[in-house]
């Protein structure tokens, strides 16, 4: 018994140490985001909270336009999350509950896109979007990401695990596929929907390379590239304001993650274990 207790104290100690190490960069960033320039450049470093918290966050939000960037990121992340979830669900519905010619071809056609990360297509994608005259628009940031194999296969897998008799029953009752999706499948799919929403929102919120290339107007730029411009002139950088920007930028995905991480595990991670 005693051995067990000392073992558990050791485990707690080790876990607390690891948690602290993982957390410390963000804790430091938060503390520094409250300090004035003088407090940051002071030697030895000031480790307590500073006196500039309101000022720093205000400056980041207004003078460095983080308010605008946050709004833009929020618009594109929400639009992609909602639209991609719906489109993936419809495709999953077609693949599981319908029989149609060339079904295998369609399946592999979608499957192969797993091998096409957007990052390696940026050259061609840039000229395509420019040819459409869509540079500097939300459409440029949203459209290329509206469909993905991950979303389709997540729903396909989940729908396949639902008893087929439900669809029979629905058909006998005279319900069409859309009605069946709405009143039977969706209520049974919240874990999958939440998991996909979390993956997509964080993925879109953290977009960096593509917006950096395609958006040349501050009014349409996203938060990650906004952060980049804050650090551009290092020598004169007010790091307290930059850290305030980093904290602001990480909050929305962090909140979504904290709210949905259990559904994410049930709807996505455990799917890898079956």
């Amino acid at each position: 018994m005693r051995r067990k207790r000392s073992h558990s104290i050791l485990t707690h100690a080790a876990l607390i140490l690891v948690v602290f190490l993982l957390l410390s960069p963000v804790l430091i960033a938060f503390v520094k985001s409250t300090q004035t320039r003088a407090q940051i450049y002071h030697f030895p470093p000031v480790l307590g909270f500073g006196t500039s918290i309101v000022q720093n966050y205000k400056t980041a939000w207004n003078e460095f336009h983080l308010g605008t960037y946050m709004k833009n990121s929020f618009i594109i992340a929400t639009a992609v999350t909602v639209a991609k979830t719906i489109l993936s669900m419809l495709t999953g519905l077609a693949l599981v509950y319908f029989e149609f010619p060339l079904k295998n071809v369609v399946f592999y056609f979608i499957l192969f896109t797993l091998m096409m990360p957007t990052q390696i297509l940026i050259i061609a994608l840039f000229s395509l979007i420019s040819d459409f005259g869509l540079g500097n628009t939300y459409a440029a940031l949203i459209m290329p990401f509206l469909a993905s194999a991950t979303g389709v296969f997540l729903f396909r897998q989940h729908f396949s695990s639902i008893s087929p008799h439900l669809a029979d029953a629905a058909r006998v009752d005279g319900a069409g596929p859309v009605r069946f999706l709405w009143s039977v499948l969706i209520p049974m799919s919240w874990n999958t929907i939440a998991a996909l929403a979390l993956i997509q929102f964080i993925y879109m919120w953290n977009q960096y390379l593509w917006p950096l290339i395609i958006i040349r107007q501050n009014a349409r730029q996203v938060i990650q590239v906004g952060l980049r411009s804050m650090t551009a002139q290092q020598d004169v950088t007010n790091w307290g304001v930059v850290m305030a920007g980093a904290i602001i930028a990480m909050l929305p995905p962090l909140i979504i993650f904290i709210l949905l991480h259990e559904q994410f595990t049930k709807g996505f991670v455990l799917g890898k274990e079956k």
């Binding site: 430091i28 469909a147 990650q224 790091w239 993650f257």
Partner: protein
């Protein structure tokens, strides 16, 4: 896959049409264009194009600078994958112990999943700044050194690796913890009764049972190290110093969008694309479909 339940041949295509259209327009067509452009020399802004066959590829393979870029990429990716996965597995085993507050610990270990490579880069850039960064202060009062982290190519590579590992630990731990929870406790107990020590039990039972998950994480971590690292590199080093952290995706961006060598950059895209294809084939050969999307 069970039998289809609804009738109609056109309706399913109606449901799939938006998804398929997006995939054709924004993935398949750009892939085709990338291959095509890689065979051309394109003048600034694409005004003039000249077919040059495989000359871009020949230039790339003959360039010692590009070879250096490839080696740096492999080095950084290898370190992120091997060290990152080992650390993540150790943390997951620790977090899988039955202690009070396990759920809270779990959340406190996986949250970095939500961080972006750029945010990670900004915070660490500040922490490791010479002069006023907290890390050099701690090093100077303990071991009396103040390395110039971003001024030395080797140190910059190490820094990029450490930041990237830190940022990806949350992702790895989510998956490893889920896999660990499915490791049957009875088997471990039986092995313990048979006299297998903790290390032996871990190596021949837990680690073996985790191998499909390790393989899945191997692939996702390689992709992360090759592509998502861009944000961290761009914020922290811009590929420097003296091209020390100029990884393949960064070199591609520079050639494509700073030097406007469209054809040359497209050839680099093709090389990366071939890499992804090889990786995918290995993945399907080794573990079938279950790695990517479970038992579907």
């Amino acid at each position: 896959m069970h039998q289809a339940r609804f009738k109609g041949r056109l309706i399913p295509f109606l449901f799939m049409a938006p998804t398929l259209a997006i995939l054709v327009l924004f993935l398949y067509y750009p892939v085709f264009q990338t291959f095509k452009l890689s065979l051309y020399r394109v003048a600034f802004l694409g005004l003039r194009k000249k077919f040059i066959g495989f000359a871009n590829f020949v230039d790339l393979f003959k360039s010692s600078a590009y070879l250096h870029t490839v080696l740096i990429t492999l080095l950084i990716a290898g370190a992120i994958v091997v060290i990152g996965l080992s650390v993540s597995l150790a943390i997951s085993v620790l977090a899988n112990q039955k202690v009070r507050g396990a759920r809270v610990y779990r959340l406190l270990l996986i949250w970095p999943y939500a961080l972006s490579p750029a945010v990670a880069g900004v915070i660490w850039l500040f922490m490791f700044s010479p002069g006023f960064g907290i890390v050099n202060y701690l090093l100077s009062i303990t071991v009396h050194i103040e390395p110039n982290w971003l001024g030395d190519p080797y140190l910059a590579v190490i820094l990029i690796i450490v930041v990237s590992i830190w940022k990806n630990i949350g992702y790895n731990v989510v998956f490893y913890l889920a896999a660990l929870q499915n490791v049957n406790a009875d088997v471990l107990e039986a092995a313990a009764i048979d006299g297998a020590g903790p290390w032996r039990r871990f190596r021949s039972i837990t680690f073996a049972l985790l191998s499909p998950m390790t393989f899945f994480l191997l692939i996702t971590n390689i992709t992360y190290a090759f592509f998502d690292i861009f944000g961290t590199v761009d914020i922290m080093t811009k590929g420097g110093p003296i091209d020390g952290t100029n990884v393949m995706i960064y070199n591609l961006y520079r050639d494509g969008f700073q030097y406007y060598k469209t054809g040359f950059a497209s050839a680099q895209s093709v090389i990366l694309f071939v890499g992804v294809i090889i990786l995918t084939i290995i993945q399907f050969r080794t573990s079938g479909k279950r790695v990517y999307y479970g038992g579907a």
